[in-house]
């Protein structure tokens, strides 16, 4: 099972959890299940309720006390949301913004990371330091002037205002640099000698080896851009340019009486990250922990 491998299993008896575990393992049922099963179900409960309420009928959802379990599956909420002219558009907007961010972070991040890892040029250390330093600048310090910059560029109220700032992050550049530094140089040197250009070396030799780094950057970029609310809230006014997150917040106010539709919309918003997470769980968690501990 892939989920089990998500975090490395203890290799041997590890303190203090597994101490005395030898005896316990022989039992068919561990007492820890009594603690862990309700706990983890408790964590899942709000999301279960999200799914359940999205398939409830209006009558069930507006009743007090509300029904705890839907009587049948009523897809009225979903039909309402998807039939709404705006919602599919917001979904598409979110996909365009997140998709562009993922592709461009992979491309520009790899280019930048490769330059830092393999090329010698004046000021490289200073530049790397500066880029890393920008990671600690809080967003709200830059949000007002970034709005002004985007206004100067004429991008406010267009998807461009959402795309440009997320084109490449210092994190992507840094992660690729670290990954490339760990690759043995010899693989590329043969190609250099054959007169291969740097660009070709990067794309035909190095990138295919960088799968883990590519996956990590892709997943984290997707998550960050898909889930962002604050920047779209500032940069976008017109509802045809809304992202899903932004649309959801106004949707909630507009359709207060139709909670099943709001919950259906919410579920559709959450679904892509859930799918992305479950598909890339291992990479995702590894990247979080490795970037975390070394951070």
């Amino acid at each position: 099972m892939t989920t089990t491998a998500a975090v490395r299993e203890p290799r041997r008896a590890v303190a203090p959890a597994a101490v005395g575990g030898v005896r316990r393992r022989r039992l068919p049922f561990s007492a820890w299940h009594l603690l862990l099963a309700p706990l983890s179900l408790g964590f899942a409960l709000p999301l279960v309720w999200l799914l359940l309420s999205s398939v409830m009928s209006n009558a069930e959802i507006n009743r007090f006390p509300p029904a705890l379990w839907p009587h049948g599956i009523d897809l009225g909420g979903y039909r309402y949301v998807l039939g709404n002219a705006m919602f599919p558009r917001w979904f598409a907007n979110s996909f365009i913004v997140a998709g562009t961010a993922v592709v461009s972070n992979l491309l520009l991040g790899a280019l930048g990371g490769y330059a830092f890892a393999r090329m010698r040029f004046a000021g490289s250390r200073l530049l790397l330091g500066l880029m890393l330093a920008t990671m600690v600048i809080p967003f709200q310090l830059t949000m007002i002037p970034t709005f002004l910059v985007m206004k100067e560029l004429g991008l406010i109220d267009t998807l461009g205002a959402l795309i440009v700032p997320s084109l490449v992050t210092p994190f992507a550049v840094f992660l690729f640099r670290q990954f490339f530094l760990a690759l043995p140089r010899e693989i590329e040197e043969a190609a250099w000698i054959d007169g291969c250009s740097r660009l070709r070396v990067l794309f035909s030799i190095v990138m295919p080896l960088a799968r883990p780094a590519l996956a990590t950057v892709a997943v984290l970029t997707f998550l960050a851009t898909w889930n962002d609310l604050s920047w779209p809230l500032i940069a976008i006014n017109h509802d045809t340019q809304y992202t899903l997150q932004l649309g959801l917040t106004t949707f909630q106010g507009l359709h207060h009486t139709r909670w099943s539709a709001v919950m259906a919309g919410n579920f559709i918003t959450v679904l892509p990250v859930l799918v992305a997470f479950l598909l890339a769980q291992k990479t995702f968690i590894q990247s979080l922990t490795s970037s975390g501990i070394k951070g």
Binding site: P10, A17, L36, A37, M131, R198, N227, G292
Partner: protein, 319 residues
């Protein structure tokens, strides 16, 4: 990786400097040009949208500016006004209370869960996934979901309380409860991150140390207290800093659930900044509030950094 014949593997350019200085200099120059070509998009986007705004923001904080008409220089007036603004005081107080609850609870909860999840039993992968999954749900989606669950009229929370015989609560519409509920909602999603980081760190606890301690008759608590926790210290410091930054910057959840209300009980600093700049059109004032927050973050970061350095030094001495 050595299927390549060794003889062909020439040393990189810099080693041939002695033999052909001009050619290598030309090559170095070309390499430098290539490097800048590779880097320029990142440099323009990253530095252009961080260094420029940081300076712009500082200048803005000394101005009265509504982002539309030309502003004017007011010096430190914005900062002086902040000191006297009761709304800003409330925002700072709310943010500090939120951080003071969220940070320790997420660390302690994360550690406890990680200790419980750090064992080889059936379904453990499923347990871990379930506890972690709220972390990937956006704050906006969380906000909408919990506004529904906690809705005083239609919410399932009140209906559960009803079956337990407890009178219905105002939840997010109650000034006395709203901020605490926001902490709980953030914990629901934020604890997972601490769990994952702690779980990874627990694998680095040296098993031979634990074994010898057990042989010496140390109990579970002693092992936890004297071996596990000290090993986890660097991770704890990292998480403390990370969660503190996250807590001081909380915005999305507040915007979706309470919009700073009721009665300003959930107005946090970032919400205050946003409101000033984009609702009240006093961007200069908002920028100065943002600078106060940034300085607080910087100080917190510096303090933790110093603490970590000192700790590393003492640890080194012990070893």
């Amino acid at each position: 990786m050595s299927p390549l014949p060794r003889a062909v593997t020439l040393a990189p350019a810099r080693h041939s400097t002695v033999a052909r200085p001009t050619a290598s200099r030309r090559r170095a120059r070309r390499e430098s040009a290539t490097a800048w070509g590779f880097l320029s998009p990142s440099v323009i986007v990253i530095l252009g949208l961080s260094i420029v705004p940081v300076i712009w923001s500082l200048l803005l904080s000394f101005r009265a500016d509504d982002l539309v008409t030309p502003g004017r220089w007011v010096g430190l007036d914005n900062y002086r006004a902040l000191v006297q603004d009761p709304n800003f005081h409330t925002a700072v107080g709310n943010t500090l209370l939120y951080a003071a609850l969220y940070v320790p609870l997420s660390l302690v909860g994360g550690l406890a869960l990680a200790l419980a999840l750090n064992r080889r039993i059936r379904f453990i992968g499923i347990y871990r996934t379930l506890i972690f999954i709220p972390f990937v749900v956006s704050a906006a989606a969380q906000g909408v979901l919990f506004s529904f669950i906690l809705d005083p009229e239609f919410g399932v929370a009140n209906s559960l309380l009803h079956t337990l015989g407890i009178s219905p609560q105002g939840f997010l519409s109650d000034p006395g409860q709203a901020l605490y509920l926001l902490v709980i909602i953030s914990l629901w999603s934020g604890v997972g991150f601490c769990v994952i980081v702690y779980l990874a760190a627990l694998q680095d606890v040296p098993p031979e140390l634990v074994e010898s301690a057990r042989l010496d008759g140390a109990g579970r608590w002693t092992v936890l207290r004297h071996i596990t926790l000290p090993t986890l210290t660097p991770v704890t410091v990292f998480l403390l800093l990370w969660q503190l930054i996250a807590a001081l910057q909380v915005f999305d959840l507040v915007y979706v659930t309470t919009k700073g209300g009721p009665l300003g009980s959930t107005t946090v600093i970032v919400y205050f900044v946003w409101e000033q700049a984009f609702q009240m059109f006093t961007a200069g004032y908002g920028a100065s509030a943002a600078y106060v927050l940034a300085l607080a973050l910087l100080l917190a970061g510096a303090a933790l950094h110093l603490h970590r350095r000192r700790q590393n030094r003492t640890e080194g001495a012990v070893r």
